[in-house]
């Protein structure tokens, strides 16, 4: 590959060696992937979403494959914040790649508590606020569905933490750009989107929903056109960096998200289907950039010709 191609990305508050960031919930705690490739090759990676206390997660089935897509209702199973701290120390000892913690909460208080715990860990580079968690006090609604709730929550977190804050938006709301703007106004350092789309699957034999919670989140290639639309709309609206995701499986997909305005991308479901996907996607990205005479992503970021 020609030396002239520079994959690095400058988000302002951090410099990444490339724009490939495995997404929360699809990359475990990072260390599991060390068996497949050195974590050092990544731009950064996001850990599975974490609440304060250990969580069992939902009863099975937790996934259901649809046409070119995946519905999941894992229920954010996880070991809790204290245990995650240990895991992060272990992971950080094997790589210098920036680690992003996906902060969850059933209430604004819990979000804040979790954020504070990881804010003081030097091994953590960025906090990603997963505002798609059902909020017990708001009747199961998640902050991402409401502009004002998002503003309040982000502001509170920013006032009490030091680390760069990435706010991860849900597509399941009326006006995604408005929520993005609220996050920016409240001090978010960057935006990531999309989380999964709400969908339903039916088990014909049981005449019941496949999932106990009825709804589950749709991810994977099926959603790519919908995700590209939302990333484009948000990138046009905010001035902070946008991290795009939704159905990315190839180097070309990465460039499409960059063209609509993403500074970097997250790769989700493909990491489950193909653990070495990151290696392939970085290689394809470099090759495709060379073929299209793009030497640096900033040349094309948001430069969709209308």
């Amino acid at each position: 590959m020609a030396k002239t191609i520079d994959l690095s990305v400058d988000l302002g508050f951090i410099q990444l060696k490339n724009p490939i960031i495995p997404a929360s919930g699809t990359f475990g705690y990072g260390e599991e992937f060390q068996a497949f490739f050195p974590l050092d090759i990544l731009g950064a990676f996001v850990l599975k979403g974490i609440y304060k206390n250990p969580r069992k997660g939902n009863p099975p089935p937790r996934i259901h494959e649809t046409a070119a897509g995946l519905l999941n209702s894992i229920g954010l199973a996880g070991p809790g914040a204290e245990e995650l701290k240990k895991i992060i120390k272990r992971t950080a000892s094997i790589t210098n790649t920036p680690i992003i913690v996906n902060v969850c909460g059933e209430s604004d208080e819990e979000y804040l508590e979790v954020a504070k715990i990881f804010d003081v860990m030097e091994e953590v580079s960025i906090l990603e606020l997963n505002i798609s968690c059902p909020n017990v006090k708001a009747g199961g609604k998640c902050p991402a569905q409401d502009r004002d709730h998002t503003f309040r929550l982000v502001k509170q977190i920013k006032e009490n933490t030091q680390k760069p804050l990435m706010v991860k938006l849900s597509p399941n709301t009326h006006d995604v750009p408005a929520v993005a703007l609220a996050a920016q106004e409240a001090g978010a350092d960057c935006i990531s989107l999309v989380n999964t789309f709400l969908g339903v699957a039916v088990d014909l034999k049981k005449r019941a929903p496949v999932f106990k919670n009825v709804f589950a989140g749709l991810s994977g290639p099926a959603i790519k056109p919908l995700a590209l639309k939302l990333v484009w709309e948000v990138a046009k609206t905010v001035s902070i960096p946008v991290i795009g995701m939704g159905g990315i499986t190839s180097g070309k997909d990465v460039l499409e998200f960059v063209l609509v305005g993403a500074s970097a991308v997250q790769t989700g479901t493909i990491n489950m289907a193909e653990p070495c996907a990151s290696v392939r996607i970085i290689k394809e990205l470099e090759e495709t950039m060379e073929a299209l005479s793009i030497t640096n992503l900033s040349e094309i970021k948001g430069r969709l010709k209308l």
Binding site: F36, K48, A68
Partner: protein, 257 residues
């Protein structure tokens, strides 16, 4: 464990919807232990999207065999593979059947559950007294009996639910008697959930050391997605892919129990 593109050597139709896939997968053949499984995907296409889990039926360097049943789109795509086709292979995955020497072991297989059990027989037969109970819905589902005969089993008990071949009955029909007659110390089983539920009911408390190899819907196969949860008697979830697929029978919260 490795994520590789391997080559299909043969994809043989056995009966009904059952097939035997032989792939050239040196790393897998060298490293797979009895009880391990692999994740397979027929192509690099986007639908089906995820790989599918299959027990290792046998290995002989550089080859690995997988015995599978077509049940949906992933297995249908695998059934379309032909010699020389590429196939995506992730493995070996999961834990293994425990090792034994000098024991009286009863293996129990339901339907396609014979796949990992076959590999267990190969492993146990040389140094233990191995018995097999093997059952399936009907004649066409009870395959590979000739192959099994050559593996050094002490005795084999065959059943079909509908009596269309061998004994009419379930794997549980005579199991207590068989265990008693042959002084069985260890059981190792693989089959559908309903079989495990009955098994747990029949032999759960009778003093044998009981191991099971579970199936579950799997997203990744190597422990990162939490798709493959199974409820334990401690009221926790374990991951079938990385905590299992082999568990002690009493560890699992069987629904019927």
């Amino acid at each position: 464990m490795k994520d590789e593109t391997c080559i299909v050597i043969e994809n043989r139709h056995i009966s009904k919807k059952y097939y035997m896939l032989k792939i050239k997968a040196p790393y897998l053949a060298e490293n797979a232990k009895p009880g391990n499984f692999v994740m397979l995907k027929a192509s690099s296409g986007l639908d089906p999207l995820l790989k599918r889990p299959f027990g290792v039926f046998n290995t002989n360097y550089p080859f690995t065999w997988v015995y599978y049943e077509v049940v949906g789109k992933g297995t249908a795509a695998i059934a379309n593979l032909r010699a020389d086709d590429p196939v995506q292979v992730l493995g070996p995955l999961g834990n293994r059947f425990p090792a034994f020497t000098g024991k009286n072991i009863l293996l129990v297989a339901g339907g396609r559950g014979i796949a990992p059990i076959h590999y267990a027989i190969c492993d146990y037969a040389p140094a233990n007294n191995v018995f097999l109970i093997y059952g399936a819905r009907s004649a066409g589902d009870l395959n590979l009996v000739e192959e099994l005969k050559g593996l050094g089993l002490k005795k084999m008990f065959l059943y079909t639910d509908d009596g269309s071949a061998y004994q009419k009955g379930f794997v549980t029909t005579d199991i207590r008697r068989i265990i008693a007659d042959h002084h069985i110390e260890v059981t190792v089983s693989c089959g559908p959930d309903a079989m495990f539920e009955s098994l747990a009911h029949e032999i759960g408390g009778i003093g044998t050391e009981n191991w099971v190899s579970l199936e579950a819907l799997m997203g990744c196969g190597f422990g990162i997605c939490y798709s493959c949860a199974v409820k334990t008697t401690a009221d926790e979830y374990k991951k079938v892919c990385s905590d299992g697929p082999v568990f002690k029978m009493e560890e699992i919260a069987w629904q019927k129990q």
